[in-house]
Symmetry: C2
Subunit: 503 residues, 2 copies
């Protein structure tokens, strides 16, 4: 009679699994008008679930106008046109969530939106965001370059371009890859609308529901959320100060066959860790042995403050396993929306096919602007200056932490990048966030950076975005909030849902 | 023993279904090292398929290094680490296609890429592309506006912005929506990276594999390909000169429960058709009755040459069912990569969540530039001029067709937009494309605009992109190609695969 089955381990709530089953059967015409759904108690017993679960499932179906329930007659399937209409001919608004693809809402699904919204707030010191400082965006240089460019190229500067990116720009990027020790051809490069799109396109071409992806823990929340949206299974490998614990990788690769390994080897987000050369070599050996591609997210490459980092994985890779991702959002400015992927040709071909459907191509003006800055050497000179400025910011935050942090707060000074990754004493997350809001300072809580909820009490503090002279005050405010909170025995006590708002 | 089952009606080839089943079982550890796959003949018989199908499936698994075949011992599952490595320690390149998500390649999957690549060719007259003419891109106006803007806003002009778009720009867009008869609030608007991204995001939030989408036939190939990629089932409704045959819609809505209806009511791409007011009203009535949202793709709104079009569906919609999509790619320039969606808030909220993972936000400079042009009135004045220029181009192409087209070629003069949609006599598609290539003229074949392969012999000729003084010559070349081809009885004779290249 009833073929519905439920998977209690699924991330989709059981009641949704049931309502979805009937919804599909009805929409495919496999269950006809007038069909009586099984009585709630019977179905609950058959499936071994609570009766409330069935009630919720049937309520879903009722609200969607697919079934009607009558005392004594049970729940029956309605004819398609019998969707409830109101009396006066007024049309009821759609229930959008019932029409949309079923997705499990996660507490941090809106985090990128929330972080970007923060930048519009002027009343708070923002340590939450890994965006470049306004005063380090080379607006004057870009303005002059833009003007020369538009004068020279005319309408071409605004016109459409190839999906994979303007050829001259890809050639300049190939040159930049050479400077980064990984020379490649322009046709091994795809220009993307920021590195976020690169990650998204990679997920699109690789992932089917249930596929395994190996990630670092912690990792960039924006990538984790993309992989989650693709319904991948995420396996986390811990990060220490030398980067991913590659020694823990082998059994994962042996047991699961991940589609790829996603790593930020250089000045990792959020931990600031730098993967050692030895571990880089070992990571590639394992990738070769288990034939797993490696996605190298390398957007902090230019922000080295204590000497050069080890070569990129892409530079060390002799077999084309590394899919290299980077961007100009940190070095020039995020508003340009330009990143890129460098990868083996057969993969690049598939990424281009996905890209064309996603947004046709990336902004032309931004591509031509950066092409000019790369060729003129202005980019390289600019980055040299940036390195010094961000190194000073790092010192400022380090000094502030030393001066302001109470006992129980610990951190490691990062060798590059934008972040201090701090461990806090046992305080309630929700209470800390509320108190920080009162103190008018924002930070990134550690939780969205992990695959599973962690009791580990971490925060990421960014020294990149707020005005340099506010860094110390920002740290002082946050540490005041930490000091004033009572220590708790269970730091996850505050429910996740309560801690969603960032300020 | 064997739980594998196959769906012969699926678009995934049967052998891939089988190899995928085993691949999944092996990767999930449900089939262990040493397990012997069923003998080929046995499995073929059990599944009722040809033995070659099984051979192909097993070959797939062997190439992926998952199994090995030995005469007399059958095909057995290899240990994970036993992936074939070459003798000298040299790593074999990855077989990317085996790692990627299984997708059915379609003959027109690369069409957007191919069309965009065409723009780089200088040796041919391009009637294939619906991009604006270079000389109608207001480069001087945009240059001056950009310069004033960057001077005034400084780094802010390049910086990051909210995922949903810069507020001031959304406010200006809300004003534009008011001018288009559909006033809305800024927070009912999402700025997208071109209207292509708007379509893609809509597909992302609505569609699961097997969901039904109602589209026009013909329709915009880029949208059809997005829906196909989402594995939707497409149901086509024919278009005549008054637009979608809304009279044929009711049974489709009644029988299937589509997630949405995708329509280009105003100067349809590719047919040029204009949906009549009566049909617009009827379409909304049906949408309300069956509670189906309507995606209105309205990118040709400003290109009316014979008086104003009827009100948009969005303007006629009293219940918030219409998801309105438009862009500045045709009116200002495609390189800016700016489009937008106007929709009910609950849906917009979900679109923003998808947008943030897709590319964080759209280019800031483009948003601020267009905001200024909208507020100053420059945009409105520019569009007035455009209308006249494109109307002249339409006359030029109409006159060229009248002068050059041989008997058997027919068309309807479009009341707006960019295209003549011509019916050709029975000639081989492949031969026509080859001959047009020799004549150095490109056109868009009709096939990618249909849900299923059609024998109907159509081409879309665009008068928007090539220099105005080449339109006549382009039409003359194409018609020469048509005249010189022998008529065939079966116009689909040339295989699709042969006709993929556009010149």
């Amino acid at each position: 009679m009833v073929d519905v089955s439920v998977d209690k381990k699924s991330s989709v709530p059981v009641y949704q699994q049931i309502s979805r089953y009937y919804r599909d059967m009805i929409s495919q015409g496999k269950i006809a008008e007038g069909y009586r759904l099984p009585p709630e108690r019977t179905l609950a017993k058959t499936l071994g679930v609570n009766r409330t679960t069935i009630l919720n499932a049937y309520r879903d179906l009722k609200e969607a106008g697919l079934v009607a329930g009558h005392v004594g007659r049970g729940t029956t399937v309605l004819p398609p046109s019998a969707a409830p209409e109101s009396a006066a001919g007024e049309v009821q608004p759609l229930r959008w969530t019932q029409l949309l693809r079923q997705q499990t809402a996660t507490p941090w699904e809106g985090i990128i939106r929330d972080l970007h919204a923060l930048t519009e707030r002027k009343d708070s010191i923002i340590l939450a965001i890994g965006l470049p400082a306004h005063d380090l965006i080379p607006a004057k240089l870009m303005r002059e370059t833009l003007d020369a460019l538009v004068a020279e190229r005319g309408p071409e500067a605004f016109s459409s371009g190839p999906c994979e990116g303007v050829f001259g720009f890809r050639a300049a990027l190939a040159g930049l890859m050479g400077q980064r020790g990984a020379p490649c051809d322009p046709d091994e490069i795809l220009v993307t609308t920021g590195s976020q799109q690169a990650i998204d396109l990679i997920a699109r071409v690789f992932l089917e529901p249930g596929d395994v992806v190996v990630v670092e823990e912690p990792s960039y929340f924006g990538a984790l959320n993309v992989f989650r949206q693709a319904q991948a299974r995420l396996l986390g490998v811990p990060v220490d100060r030398n980067g991913m614990r590659v020694d823990l990788l082998e059994p994962l690769l042996q047991r699961h066959r991940p589609k790829f390994i996603y790593t930020l080897p250089t000045y990792q987000n959020p931990s600031g860790a730098l993967l050692s050369l030895e571990r880089r070599r070992r990571l590639l050996e394992l990738a070769y042995r288990f034939r797993v591609p490696v996605v190298e997210d390398d957007i902090y490459q230019d922000f080295s403050y204590d000497g050069d980092p080890p070569p990129t994985l892409k530079a060390l890779d002799t077999a084309g396993f590394v899919i290299y991702v980077s961007s100009f959002s940190k070095t020039l400015s995020p508003g340009l929306r330009i990143g890129w992927v460098a990868a083996a040709r057969p993969l690049l071909h598939q990424l281009v096919l996905a890209k064309q459907l996603s947004d046709l191509h990336s902004p032309t003006l931004s591509q031509l602007l950066i092409e000019r800055l790369l060729i003129s050497g202005d980019f390289r000179r600019h980055v040299g200056g940036l390195r010094e400025a961000y190194a000073r910011r790092r010192e400022t935050m380090g000094a502030a932490l030393r001066a302001e942090a109470p006992e129980g707060v610990s951190w490691t000074k990062p060798a590059g990048g934008f972040y201090f990754w701090c461990r806090l004493p046992d305080v309630s997350q929700a209470a800390l966030m509320a108190r920080a809001g009162e103190e008018q300072v924002s930070y990134l809580p550690g939780m969205p950076c992990f695959v599973h909820e962690r009791s580990e009490h971490r925060v990421r503090l960014s020294y990149s975005h707020c005005p340099a002279d506010q860094i110390h005050e920002g740290v002082a405010r946050l540490m005041r909030a930490v000091r004033r909170l009572p220590r708790v025995s269970d730091p996850t006590r505050g429910r996740l849902a309560e801690t969603r708002a960032l300020v």
